[in-house]
Symmetry: C2
Subunit: 225 residues, 2 copies
């Protein structure tokens, strides 16, 4: 998923198309997925303005199978465009798996990718989770907030991995309805399928703020040591 | 609060006594608090084994007023030791404020510190909060989990700032009881005082994993640009 429009301060280019450690941000995860399993088909969903840029980068990959698909007006619509491309252009066997991954998480590890595929094979739907390290408070409508026991919560990352038929069915909803869901796991759950957790990683950060680029470079550099 | 025993992998030294950007981790926040308001009294709570190390570093500060206090068996007990030292050795006027800050958050900004003091002056109890960037799931006792709407939650950092009498009263509890609370805000709230939120900062990270040192160096380096 590279369709977001989050921009680095002072730059017209969304963050997933910036350079990180000598490589475009979105290509880091593409390459990590293909390194783990060269038979994977990569579908990059991006804003129509960036299709050419993405195709040029993907061309350099050589033999791998890939598609570039235009995004929609919201993250769930973009995911749906991606999985519709699977439905119409690739077809899926009943046992095919789909991993939905944010391009803004370029540091996903081969280990996490492998655990995601395995967990989805076993449980149909699996998302990576990490303990919450900050204390949490819940906001109430009157503008107040109250403390929560953080051990009862986990933070969820991507890749979120699903058996293809499960994910396709979960997205089979009216458009307006889709925007109620912040991630694929909650959509799948709303379709009646329970979602399993597999271990996330603290290094699998989401690049959100401009300064996260420096953080990501530091993590890359540490990993190379 | 520098009493934690979290250690960097392969090192016997807790993380708050490691070096970051040429300075001991805990001294970063000490200096940032004093830079903002030189009249502040700094109380460092640490394990008895490290009192000498802390005193030696604090000696180098020159004129600032400070105390080093031995920690207890848990974070709340350590905080209580710190505020008891205020009660018995310093005394507090009714309008005195206490900021409780984790030494593992060395990158707190002068701006945040100032906003914390102001918010506590106005609201009696104030903690810095940030939107949650990862999706959240709540764990249930049967081992399952369910999606939450993350916009209803905030992640809480430190410094957590309170009018002194409010914090002293909140900690006036039996020892066994204290361990139920993960932060000062929840304790204060349990004493019947509502807690206000002020803006936290994504750079104000908590050093938790060994790799966070590289991340903190990157943030320091960016901030100096």
């Amino acid at each position: 998923m590279a369709a977001g429009s989050g921009r680095r301060a002072g730059s017209p280019l969304p963050k997933q198309f910036h350079t990180l450690g000598g490589r475009t941000v979105f290509m880091h995860s593409v390459i990590r997925f293909l390194d783990d399993a060269p038979e994977v088909t990569v579908i990059v969903v991006c804003h129509p303005d960036f299709i050419q840029l993405v195709e040029k980068e993907m061309d350099g990959l050589g033999a791998a199978e890939w598609l570039v698909v235009p995004g929609g007006n919201s993250r769930p619509e973009s995911v749906r465009n991606g999985i519709n491309a699977i439905r119409t252009r690739l077809g899926t066997g009943k046992s095919a798996l789909i991993a939905v991954h944010d391009a803004a998480r370029p540091l996903v590890s081969a280990l996490m990718i492998r655990e995601g595929w395995h967990a989805a094979e076993e449980y149909l739907a699996a998302v990576p989770a990490l303990p919450v390290t900050d204390s949490l408070r819940q906001l109430s409508e009157d503008g107040r907030s109250e403390a929560l026991d953080r051990s009862r919560f986990v933070a969820v990352q991507t890749p979120q991995v699903f058996r293809a038929d499960i994910l396709l069915r979960a997205y089979d909803r009216p458009k307006g309805d889709l925007s109620l869901f912040t991630d694929d796991a909650s959509l799948v759950e709303a379709s009646g399928v329970p979602v399993a957790l597999y271990p996330g990683s603290p290094e699998n950060i989401k690049i959100t703020h401009p300064r996260d680029f420096a953080i990501a470079e530091a993590i890359l550099h540490e990993a190379e040591k």
